[in-house]
């Protein structure tokens, strides 16, 4: 294909026309940033260079507002409880050793804004993007999870975005053949106009298969493979095209990328065959900022320069200008560095999967990334200046003035139910509330079984998948965040998210190993939001230090706000744990009659940010529950050891809605009833029954213990000095839950309340 060079803004032309005005402001660059680009280059940038810098220096790609805070995570010991990390923050995704020669890599990322504009494609390509990140580490993706947050359930915008987002997550993930093993569906008015679509992927690899994104070895070839490049996802850069060039051919193109999960499935299998054949020196996925990002990051991480012949990129739309080819976020593309002697084999493997692969460049012994369009040089930049040395800001922070009032409004005067009838009605009201109701209307649209390794999925506390079929070695994952807690106190809120996720993984029987986070916040230009952000990061850092687990990667999403109103701070935390044999995982519901139910941990009257205050009184105020990470760690060890030694048959974490909800869910899971008494707990903790049922104190779980193991189990708790109380017995003859001396509720009453809400809101 011959490239049109008319009107091309070349390096030569840029050097000769230093005063030509450029649309840097429209591209989102600050005046100082534009000046800095000119200083780096010693001339004005070409329009292609300007496009690259503008997108790579955007908040999304450069982390320019968050970097100074995130650096903290790098100070955490780069070790999990099982040993050294194999790759950490800064790679596409962190890689951790899980033993027996296996490693896993996982990461959670946001795709919030595209999903608001175009729910189906935004959510679908969110899944696709995170899966390619995992593939780029040399891993086979083995599962996905999707933490989703929406506005009020009855708000028209929620009605607009939720069905599309859920269908997009399912449509892409199902067709890709990855089990969806968990996530969250949360409703809160703060997300109206700002739904949060976070996506997590976990992949597995043998230690020796680890691949890193770098271009090394002069003369090695740069191969672009996968889908053709089209005009989707160009977004803001079309400003540049329309200003610099005539309008023809630019026109209206979708700003949101369009996904093709079939192409991605084939790309996964193709990549894994390429890795197995050892024909890949370096690999990088194409996501945000497309070729700009992939070429500059590969070259920046390597030891030389890179030359790219941009007009060789296969196009879906032949009218695309070079700036657009560089910026396009067309999906399902990867870039590999290949030695010349392996090229034929590389191409044969790609051909077997009908994947188009094209040599578009080579590694040079120079220092710069040079991009050609036909015979003309249109980019000549130091790659580090684009990819890694972007601007860094220390944005002003200020604790919001409203916080004192919010924390002082502790809800002590909120009317509490006291009669047995009122307690029962409160339980049913909470069970039916949007955030606690049964989510199967959503999760049944996701394939949780494909690949045949899923040992736990929704509605259990954590998703569990087998990694090694021979031994049963596998991983457990959970994502959590109660943003109401984070609104009241972002430091504690972030730690509570971490604690809950950690607890959920331990509840399944896995040893928690590592954290990935997706930090969703409002505008970093608002000092109040920036303060919330820095507090949340500080909370996570201190929390990880206390729990002895590293942050291996993650993502920041700013500007989640409508006008002046930001979303609640929403630091979604994903914890990954390992277990030697996932066949031993602990389910969240009880089955066997006669087993004793134990409540682990102490309960205090903690209703700040609670589900009860929200659902019953529409109240948000006070302080969130106290965080005691030492206790979380103790509880985690008890849950993991008890599972390993066969001392418990079921375990359920206590969080939103407290003990009452945990008991209801544990009963509904398999239908076996529970006879429960709370007098001793009330006496020990000096609380009333309402508090015992609905308080959201942290570091608690309920477990089912076979009678034969009761002594061993209580001895283990006693030896550690961990609070434990027998609160009930599983009784499969009993219909539902009998809370002795208070009320009985039948299984049908529980299920009726629990399952009706989402279908009533969305099944029409």
């Amino acid at each position: 294909m011959s490239a049109s060079t008319s009107q091309l803004d070349t390096v030569e032309r840029a050097a000769a026309s230093s005063d030509t005005p450029q649309p840097w402001a429209e591209l989102g660059l600050g005046e100082d940033e534009y000046a800095r680009i000119r200083e780096i280059l010693g001339r004005r940038p070409t329009s292609a260079e300007l496009a690259m810098y503008s997108v790579m220096w955007s908040e999304h790609c450069s982390y320019k507002s968050s970097k100074v805070h995130l650096r903290r995570f790098g100070d955490l010991p780069a070790e999990t409880p099982l040993g050294k990390q194999l790759a950490g923050i800064g790679e596409n995704a962190g890689v951790i050793d899980i033993g027996q020669g296996w490693a896993v890599t996982f990461k959670v990322e946001s795709h919030n804004h595209p999903s608001y504009v175009e729910p189906y494609q935004g959510a679908a390509t969110g899944v696709g993007g995170i899966v390619r990140d995992i593939m780029a580490m040399g891993a086979r993706p083995i599962a996905v999870m999707d933490p989703l947050r929406f506005g009020a359930i009855d708000h028209p915008d929620t009605q607009r975005v939720l069905p599309g987002i859920v269908a997009g997550v399912g449509g892409y993930g199902n067709c890709l053949g990855l089990p969806n093993i968990g996530g969250e569906v949360v409703f809160d008015p703060c997300y109206q106009g700002n739904p949060l679509v976070n996506a997590l992927c976990v992949g597995a690899l043998r230690h020796e298969d680890l691949h890193l994104a770098k271009a090394t070895g002069t003369g090695n070839l740069v191969v672009l493979f996968g889908a053709k490049t089209g005009g989707d996802g160009i977004g803001g850069v079309s400003v540049l095209a329309s200003e610099t060039f005539d309008d023809e051919g630019v026109g209206k193109r979708p700003a949101v990328q369009v996904g093709d999960p079939f192409a991605e499935k084939v790309l996964i299998e193709c990549c894994l065959d390429l890795y197995a054949a050892e024909v890949v020196e370096g690999i990088q996925d194409l996501g945000g900022a497309g070729l700009s990002c992939a070429t500059s990051e590969l070259a920046s991480a390597g030891d030389g320069g890179m030359r790219v012949w941009l007009d060789r990129v296969p196009l879906r739309d032949a009218t695309l200008r070079p700036e657009e080819v560089l910026m396009s976020e067309s999906q399902e593309r990867m870039m590999a560095v290949v030695t010349p002697d392996k090229l034929d084999e590389f191409m044969a493997i790609a051909d077997r999967w009908d994947v188009e692969a094209t040599v578009v460049g080579e590694v040079t012994d120079g220092t710069n990334l040079q991009i050609h369009w036909g015979d003309e040089l249109i980019v000549d930049v130091p790659p580090r200046s684009v990819a890694h040395d972007g601007p860094v800001y220390e944005r002003p922070l200020e604790r919001p003035a409203y916080l004192d009032g919010l924390q002082a409004d502790d809800g002590a005067r909120l009317a509490r139910p006291s009669t047995p009838e009122d307690l029962k009605a409160t339980l049913l009201q909470l069970l039916a509330s949007p955030n606690l109701c049964d989510k199967s209307w959503v999760t049944d649209q996701y394939d949780r079984y494909v690949r045949g390794n899923t040992a736990l999925a929704m509605p259990d506390d954590a998703g569990v998948v087998r990694v090694d079929e021979e031994t049963g070695l596998g991983v457990a994952l959970s994502t959590d965040c109660n943003s109401r807690f984070a609104k009241l106190d972002p430091y504690a809120g972030a730690q509570l998210a971490l604690a809950e996720s950690y607890r959920n993984v331990a509840t399944a029987g896995a040893i928690p190993l590592a954290v990935s986070d997706c930090l969703n916040f409002g505008s970093p230009e608002d000092p109040g939001v920036m303060w919330e952000f820095s507090e949340a990061v500080r909370g996570l850092y201190d929390g990880c230090l206390a729990l002895g687990i590293p942050v291996t990667g993650g993502n920041v999403s700013f500007y989640n706000q409508t006008g002046e109103t930001a979303i609640h701070p929403t630091p979604v935390v994903a914890v990954l744990g390992v277990m030697d044999d996932v066949a031993r995982r602990t389910p969240s519901g009880w089955k066997a009659p006669g087993q004793m139910l134990y409540l682990l941990g102490r309960t205090a009257s903690e209703f700040g940010g609670s589900t009860w205050a929200d659902v019953v009184h529409g109240h948000l105020g006070g302080l969130p529950p106290a965080v005691e990470l030492g206790l979380e760690r103790e509880l985690g060890e008890i849950l993991v050891n008890a599972s390993r030694d066969g001392l418990i048959d079921a375990a359920h974490d206590l969080s939103d809605g407290g003990l009452a909800i945990a008991l209801a869910e544990g009963t509904m899971r398999y239908g076996a009833g529970a006879r429960v008494w709370l007098d001793e707990v009330c006496e020990r903790d000096e609380i009333d029954v309402f508090t015992a049922l609905f308080s959201e104190s942290a570091a608690r779980a309920v477990v089912a213990v076979p009678r034969s193991e009761e002594v061993r189990f209580t001895d283990m708790c006693s030896a550690r000095g961990f609070a434990h109380a027998r609160i009930g017995v599983v009784d499969d003859e009993l219909d539902g839950i009998e809370l002795q001396g208070r009320f009985s509720v039948t299984l049908e009453e529980l299920r009726h309340a629990h399952t009706g809400t989402l279908p009533a809101a969305f099944a029409h």
């Binding site: 067709c175 499935k265 999967w353 049944d444 394939d447 079984y449 045949g452």
Partner: protein
């Protein structure tokens, strides 16, 4: 005993079918869509997934894959063939089985544990079940609603060629609750639910799906 599993581009449950074959002690043989022979296997499974993205119509492109050129005459000659989900769609598109699969009546993908009744325990893939036995396996599809004209449906019923029926709620609007059917000879069976996801304790709702694979093993050993 060698059982082949065809991988089309976009096949997803091929590894699961291969695993199920291994678990009953048969040799699992991967077959490739672009191959024109069946590598001498004794039976073939067309697995679930989205062959070629299912972009035109489910199974419509897979039907023209080179491997199908060998498979169709072999099936007509009596080779045991099982089509699961997308594989069932491919069998219908290939006219090895009558009828078609269309979008679920509720328009959504659905994944759940599903009870089936074995209506014909005399096929190559069901002989280890009892007539009328109820089994629980995984159901997961977006286009699983079985449709055919009345005459075809009546013929299927009259000839005992309805192999499986949904018990309880019909998950996708299939006519007459039909979950799976067989050809006249009983060697070709297609169904939307996934028996290969119910073969291992702890990794699915039950191990009720094993019977498909033990049935064909017994069938081939007899033959």
């Amino acid at each position: 005993m060698r059982i082949g599993v065809v991988t089309f581009p976009g096949s997803l449950d091929d590894q699961d079918a291969l695993r199920a074959v291994r678990l009953v002690g048969a040799e699992a043989v991967p077959l490739w869509h672009g191959d024109e022979d069946l590598r001498g296997v004794d039976a073939v499974i067309l697995p679930g997934g989205f062959s070629y993205g299912d972009y035109l119509r489910c199974g419509a492109i897979a039907r023209f894959a080179p491997v199908m050129g060998a498979l169709v005459p072999a099936a007509q000659g009596g080779l045991p063939v099982l089509g699961i989900c997308n594989g069932f769609q491919v069998l219908c598109e290939s006219h090895l089985l009558p009828g078609a699969l269309i979008r679920n009546d509720h328009r959504k993908f659905v994944c759940r544990d599903q009870v089936l009744r074995v209506e014909n325990a005399a096929t190559a893939w069901t002989s280890d079940y009892e007539q009328g036995q109820e089994i629980t396996v995984v159901l997961k599809n977006g286009e699983g609603s079985y449709v055919a004209d009345e005459r075809t449906l009546d013929a299927l019923e009259a000839e005992g060629r309805v192999a499986f029926r949904y018990v309880g709620q019909n998950p996708n609007g299939s006519y007459r609750d039909i979950a799976g059917i067989t050809n006249e000879r009983g060697n070709v069976v297609g169904l939307m639910p996934h028996p290969e996801h119910a073969v291992e304790e702890g990794y699915g709702p039950s191990v009720d799906g094993l019977g498909f694979f033990t049935s064909v093993l017994a069938q081939v050993v007899r033959a």
